[in-house]
Subunit: 219 residues, 2 copies
């Protein structure tokens, strides 16, 4: 694989992306022990490189490391989902407000573009089935576009990590409600209606929490 600049991705970087993605999408089950020897085979990298990757993911909170007893995938819990939802609302509300204030027509262009791609993908779920990876990507890019004029790189980075952690719980497609909320957010953005945007976003996220809790109980 190569990056956008055409530079070949180092073994460490591509392994990092694969493992991170496998955690987010549940390929690597929460709380499972990550045995280095086994993973070495699966991801085609040496133990040292693997440890670099796992150390990065530990800082981000996708992996936990305990003493000299190795690594495991970060556990999930209802409590943690609630915490992430609350944190995401806090960060995204604030970032949206700043972004709505400062956003110019370039920003509107990014928002419209991101929404178009998200909406197109959401429509194909019905005909072609759900592709969680693609859906997450465009969902993330849309919310990122909404806050992209907030003026704070630190805020955006913090938000991005929280969003990715949150997505571990938001795997299943939720249907029309989500589509409408995304559309409403687009309209709020273009009208700079931060108050409505906040309400929609709160519903958006809380709805997702409720949905996750429901499917949690089903199994």
């Amino acid at each position: 694989m190569t990056s956008l600049e055409g530079r070949p991705l180092s073994a460490g970087d591509s392994g990092y992306q694969r493992i991170r993605s496998d955690i987010i999408f549940g390929v690597l089950t929460p709380s499972v022990r990550l045995k280095l020897d086994a993973m070495k085979e699966d991801y085609g990298v040496s133990i040292s490189t693997l440890r670099e990757i796992l150390n990065r993911l530990t800082s981000e909170g996708f992996v936990v490391a305990e003493g000299q007893r190795g690594f495991e995938v970060a556990p999930i819990s209802i409590q943690n989902l609630r915490e992430l939802a609350g944190l995401r609302i806090l960060l995204e509300h604030h970032a949206m407000a700043e972004s709505f204030r400062a956003g110019d027509v370039e920003w509107e262009g990014r928002v419209v573009s991101a929404h178009h791609k998200l909406a197109a993908t959401e429509r194909t779920v019905l005909s072609e089935g759900d592709d969680p990876e693609l859906r997450k990507r465009y969902d993330g890019e849309f919310h990122q576009a909404l806050i992209s004029s907030c003026g704070s790189r630190e805020l955006m980075q913090t938000h991005a990590v929280v969003f990715d952690k949150y997505f571990r719980y938001a795997l299943r497609y939720r249907g029309a409600e989500t589509i409408n909320q995304h559309k409403a957010l687009l309209e709020c953005a273009l009208k700079r209606d931060i108050k409505s945007a906040r309400a929609v976003l709160t519903d958006h996220i809380n709805g997702c929490v409720a949905h996750a809790l429901a499917s949690w109980n089903e199994g």
Copy 2:
């Protein structure tokens, strides 16, 4: 060095803490290139271990890694300081509000204890000179205690990283104003007066930004 449980700290962990601390306290200058061979000597660990450490610090934002060109200490800028201050206010306001609401007498005990230690340390600055490392530790522990009943581990962890990054800019001791603000925060906490606490904290942080900018211009 040994951890609280008496378990010997691994080479990687102690190196991590030393390098992280050296970045926060300016021993490792912002934007300097981190040459692995040289650091290997300084911190007494092998290159592989060093890379694990640097990868962790990259995720946290204390180090930046570019392509296959190695690592460097994260740069500092006025813009970044403003971003961190804004983010800290956002997170800490919210966490204080939750913590004030949920805090019981155990929490009050933690807050009183942390403030006592911080105040004692701040007093010794006059007689025995400033020890930034000690001051940062107790400052951090006090603010951590204030939000320790917020009920969200994710929020506290996110706040802790932002606080540490912020402290890179808040090195110099600021004197009486800080002492009074900490005391005011203690009193607000015991009275559960979140509104005043927010005002004090905003002043506290903005005052620190102004101070940092001033000494920035001096050199």
